[in-house]
């Protein structure tokens, strides 16, 4: 048997979901007996059959990916409940197995997958999708690229009408239907406390969290998931702020971004300049804008 063929056969078996009692299935996905599959490629020894030896790898695979996935999506677990989350995680990882050398990217396709498979969240679909978006944004913010922050002197000589401002790559802009930021922080606080807690304490916190999720009503928020001094933060912003930042990220010029964002605002015309100035002051203080050498050069060249 050629190397590639053997590796395909073994990988298929290793990535086959476990039974409810976390053992290897007796039937492979293609309908063949798993004992036959195992015995064709793996030798038995004096203690273990071929099936049992293959099963060690099958179990290790699922334990590893499921625990990494659950660690990344603690909030979604709180939304769906443990049992449903575990079943959803298996279904997701069956459809979207890792395509990356790092487990960090395991959940990169989760939001799209959840949108295509609403049955997993049922009546909590919007809540679940929002939470998955927030938790993925958190992963991106944690170790995303940081470009050199934009400084006032970088803008010298640039035509304001044609000016583009670029957001740091690690920043995510989220329009959420539920105020999930506080809930996620609470869930994580619970998880870290549970590391040292008794069962009674754990049960009490679990009930509290379930109540919090059940009581959560839709209430749209705009959120920036960003990083400051290497810690990840969730910052709520106004709709107008969200519109400006989204337009800038989409590549609109500064002028166009502000104009389009304030077209339907309820902020009185006389107060708009003050608001805009305050927003930009805050965003700059948080280093949300970065230098894009190529673009700055082009804009300066166009001015000449």
């Amino acid at each position: 048997m050629k190397l590639l063929s053997l590796q395909r056969r073994m990988a298929r078996a290793v990535m086959t979901p476990l039974t409810r009692s976390e053992r290897m299935r007796s039937v492979a996905p293609d309908g063949r007996s798993m004992r036959t599959v195992a015995s064709r490629i793996i030798k038995p020894n004096d203690r273990l059959t071929s099936f049992e030896r293959l099963e060690i790898y099958n179990r290790q695979y699922w334990f590893r990916v499921l625990s990494a996935f659950a660690e990344d999506f603690q909030g979604l677990r709180a939304v769906l409940g443990g049992r449903r989350f575990d079943a959803m995680a298996k279904a997701y990882l069956m459809d979207c197995p890792s395509q990356s050398f790092t487990l960090r990217n395991l959940g990169s396709r989760l939001v799209g997958w959840l949108q295509k498979h609403p049955a997993w969240a049922g009546s909590r679909q919007n809540l679940a999708v929002d939470m998955a978006r927030l938790e993925w944004a958190d992963i991106e913010a944690f170790d995303g690229k940081r470009e050199p922050p934009l400084k006032p002197e970088d803008l010298a000589g640039v035509n304001p009408v044609k000016l583009h401002l670029w957001l740091q790559p690690y920043i995510s802009l989220l329009a959420l239907r539920y105020p999930l930021d506080d809930l996620l922080l609470e869930v994580r606080k619970d998880a870290s406390e549970l590391d040292i807690a008794s069962n009674t304490f754990s049960e009490r916190h679990k009930r509290k969290r379930v109540t919090q999720v059940a009581r959560l009503k839709p209430s749209p928020i705009f959120l920036v998931v960003h990083r400051l001094d290497e810690d990840v933060y969730f910052r709520r912003i106004d709709g107008e702020e969200f519109a400006i930042l989204s337009a800038l990220r989409a590549g609109k010029t500064l002028n166009a971004a502000i104009e389009s964002a304030l077209r339907r605002t309820s902020i009185a015309a006389k107060d708009r300049a003050v608001h805009v100035e305050k927003w930009f002051h805050t965003w700059s203080a948080l280093d949300w804008f970065c230098r894009q050498e190529r673009h700055l050069k082009n804009e300066k060249a166009a001015l000449r």
Binding site: A11, I42, D143
Partner: protein, 283 residues
């Protein structure tokens, strides 16, 4: 004096794995440690806290990179993105050599994130050696391949594990990261004499040694890196050092991680064997 051509770093002594529960201790107490081994994949990222901590460690300590997902033995080609990120990290750490496992773990672009055992065939040895060469040429850093613990053997195998290891490293002209705990674990799971393995490895290619603890189950042993090193593994280590001379040694402790001092003390037990190797070399 280097003990061999693949071991120019005899002064590296005894290292331990850099793990997040110990970050604070290391950065505030600044303990004397010969070197740290990092898991490359944990730092093949674009930014954030992990890289900041790594830079702080690099200011004070020597660091060697150890990978877990190069999969030299996978039939498919190494991903270009993987190589690009790894090269960036190699430039950052200036790792004097780089290690990863003699195993496979991905096929058709899907990753198992496990260290799956190789079929010990000449075809597999050829493919694996080609990939080692490709990676070394791209990264421009010496490579050493590590023997893994295994729980299964294949019908198609044409040689023993140590013969396969020798076949690969001779073809690729690369070094060996000899994991004596993995040899012990596999010897129990596959009923061979671990000393035969240690005695068969080309001593002149051993660039580094791993020691670790494991977990015993009723019918097999699992490589869990969550216990101290047991005596039979120390005996294998002693034999390895006797054969290869003073060699950079690393204790792996990845689960149920105790305090920094406990891990470091366990690693430093290797000193008694390294000291006798130095003495023998002097005589």
């Amino acid at each position: 004096m280097p003990a061999n051509a693949f071991n120019n770093f005899t002064d590296y002594g005894i290292g331990i794995g850099l793990r997040s529960p110990h970050y604070n201790h290391i950065l505030t107490r600044k303990p004397v440690v010969d070197w740290f081994e990092i898991i490359s994949e944990n730092f093949m990222i674009d930014g954030g806290r992990p890289l900041r901590i790594l830079d702080q460690i690099l200011e004070q300590y020597k660091v060697v990179q150890h990978g877990v997902s190069m999969y030299f033995g996978s039939a498919e080609r190494v991903g270009r993105e993987h190589l690009r990120r790894l090269k960036e990290l190699v430039k950052r750490t200036k790792t004097p050599w780089l290690t990863d496992h003699l195993c496979w773990g991905s096929v058709d672009g899907r990753y198992t994130h496990d260290l799956l055992p190789m079929p010990y065939t000449f075809e597999a040895a050829k493919i694996t050696a080609q990939k080692v060469c490709e990676v070394r040429d791209f990264l421009e850093v010496p490579i050493a391949v590590e023997n893994v613990s295994s729980y299964a053997e294949f019908h198609v195998s044409e040689m023993t594990e140590w013969e396969f290891l020798n076949e690969v490293v001779e073809r690729a002209d690369c070094g060996i990261l000899l994991d004596v705990n993995n040899i012990y674990v596999s010897s129990k799971n596959h009923s061979f004499d671990p000393f035969t393995y240690v005695n068969s490895v080309p001593a002149e290619r051993v660039a580094q040694i791993h020691i670790a603890g494991h977990s015993k189950f009723k019918k097999y042993i699992l490589d869990t890196h969550d216990h101290p090193v047991i005596d039979p593994v120390w005996k294998l280590y002693a034999r390895a050092i006797e054969r290869v001379g003073h060699t950079a040694t690393l204790l792996e402790w990845d689960d149920s991680i105790p305090s920094f001092d406990e891990v470091h003390d366990e690693a430093l037990k290797a000193n008694r064997f390294l000291a006798s190797a130095s003495l023998a070399a002097a005589v």
